[in-house]
Amino acid sequence: MHEPSGLIENLFVFVLASFLGLELIRGVSRLLHTPLMSLTNAIASIAIVGSLLMTGRPHESQLITVLGAVAIVCSTINAVGGFLITERILKMFKKRSE
């Protein structure tokens, strides 16, 4: 078996994170499902980490850098938008404490 470095460690991390996700989301009150969707939407922009590495490193082909840069733009839109909108939605809930 041709095994890349860290595969088993990554599988451990994956399994643990998946179980954790299940437990965490089950606990979210229904009231908050809309901001939750918008928050997880923002978290999905974590792909920006890969995009940054792709863009920043030297490559033989300029094409790769361009693809990476487009990916950064896309992820950033996703991240900025997601967190801002979640904040906007949550602000509406603040009335409770008033």
Binding site: L22, N41, A44, T76, T86
Partner: protein, 466 residues
């Protein structure tokens, strides 16, 4: 592609912990905002960590800076200007960007290393990343189009569609498998991309616009899993953690939504394959009885001097943006001494918590919003139930008619109130396409018209009358 700076991993660990805390805190209203801040901080840490990861050239920093600025310049106004009712569309569009980003990174990674020998596992993970990324991209774009009503919101049902969808998916999977075994095959690479893009389209086409929120949650899950696959390719644990959190959260959310709507999860997961076309189109006067519309004045006279009123908002309130007018009516009623409550059905509107968000926006105090389970016992004591643009969530067919697509969905018992006022534009059915027999009851008063217009006029009538 390993980070050369070992400390980066600790930054990533901190970021992962913050993402977890973010979801944890989002679980309760009291801590939800802290949750959003934690998420933001986690993302900032992830970006900063990557920037110091090492290996990035001066030229690279330039590209990155430009791309970040462009992204922020597009994303910020989009988020700030957007009206609250457009949250579903915005989320769909955002997913499209997220899916595209993951897919493009996969493409770039493939192009760079295709000839320099990648392990079988790495190519397999890359294929999964591209497949999920691209189908999320086109799927989300289409969902956006339907929600924004750029394309038809109807479910497009054509003969043999199941065959076409499954065929496309099969081709995508086969080409992924072939690519995994023959990393140098650019043909398989091309086919994989095209089939994935096409499958995203086919996945969404047969689904009606109103089912989109559930579909978006699923697409969220796919986007997360795509990032996860990227994490396996790049040996990056932060990507795996955040991707897995995302993947499971999308899954759970869509299951919760399906349950609340009494739909089969499998149906949505496999993109409406085998979805039964529900009722479809406009309905006639349901019981055959002639139904008369009542006037604003009629409604006003019923509402005057009532002891208790329950307002039931639904999708129509969202469409008409009537939440502020509804809140005004509640104020007017409260001023005359009426006890006013809002009944919140879990799937009223088109996304989970839709009514909570809209009414909170209109400053309705949090404690007047009562969830279905709590308020149902109050309907028999209510003088009037005002149904503002809701329909399915009040339909007694869900309790009695086994053949109805609504059968089994818990509903709000508005029919137990002494009088029911329905405010909607016509006799048309709601999302499920099912007639509502309440419209024909003697205790029911239909007030036809746009929700915002009716509400505003009703408030005006009250103010004039006093």
């Amino acid at each position: 592609m390993q980070e050369t700076n070992p400390y980066v991993q600790y930054v990533y660990l901190a970021s992962a912990a913050l993402f977890i805390l973010s979801l944890k805190w989002m679980g309760q209203v009291r801590t939800a905002r802290r949750g959003n801040w934690a998420g933001t901080a986690a993302m900032v840490l992830a970006v900063l960590g990557t920037l110091i990861a090492g290996g990035i050239t001066g030229q690279g920093y330039l590209w990155i800076a430009v791309a970040l600025v462009v992204g922020a310049a597009i994303g910020t106004p989009m988020a700030i200007v957007m009206p609250m009712t457009a949250v579903p569309q915005r989320t769909a569009l955002s997913h499209a960007f997220g899916g595209l980003a993951a897919a493009l990174v996969g493409v770039a990674e493939y192009l760079e290393n295709a000839n320099s020998g990648m392990s079988t596992f790495t190519v397999g993970a890359l294929s999964v990343e591209m497949l999920l990324g691209f189908l999320t991209f086109t799927g989300s774009l289409l969902a956006f189009g339907k929600l924004q009503e750029i394309i038809t919101t109807k479910a497009v049902i054509y003969p043999g569609r199941n065959l076409v969808s499954i065929g496309t998916l099969t081709i995508a999977i086969l080409s992924a498998a072939f690519l995994t075994l023959n990393p140098a095959s650019t043909a398989a690479f091309g086919v994989l991309i095209c089939a994935s893009l096409l499958f995203g389209v086919l996945l969404i086409i047969p689904i009606g616009g109103a089912d989109m929120p559930t579909v978006i949650a699923i697409l969220n899950s796919y986007a997360g899993l795509s990032s996860c696959a990227m994490g396996f390719v790049m040996n990056n644990k932060l990507l795996i953690v955040a991707g897995a959190l995302d993947g499971t959260s999308g899954l759970i959310l869509s299951i919760v939504m399906c349950k609340a709507m009494n739909r089969s999860f499998a149906n949505v997961l496999f993109g409406g394959m085998g979805a039964t076309p529900t009722g479809g189109g406009a309905a006639k006067s349901p019981t055959g009885k002639a139904i008369v519309g009542f006037s604003i004045e009629d409604a006003k006279s019923i509402l005057q001097d009532t002891r208790s009123v329950i307002i039931v908002p639904g999708y129509g309130m969202a469409v008409a943006q009537a939440q502020h007018a509804v809140k005004e009516l509640a104020n007017v009623l409260a001023a005359q001494g009426t006890d006013v409550k809002f009944a919140i059905h879990p799937v009223a509107g088109r996304m989970p918590g839709h009514m909570n968000v809209l009414l909170s926006e209109a400053d309705v105090p949090y404690d007047q919003l009562v969830e279905m389970e709590m308020i149902n016992s109050s309907f028999p004591e209510a003088d009037v139930a005002i149904v503002v643009g809701a329909n399915d969530v009040t339909n007694p067919a869900a309790r009695t008619d086994k053949t109805s697509p609504l059968y089994g969905m818990p509903i709000l018992d508005v029919d137990k109130a002494r009088t029911v006022i329905f405010i909607k534009r016509s006799m048309n059915p709601g999302f499920a396409g099912v007639d509502n027999e309440l419209f024909g009851l003697d205790k029911t008063m239909m007030v036809f018209g746009d929700a915002k217009k009716v509400m505003t006029e009703l408030v005006a009538a009250f103010k004039a009358g006093h």
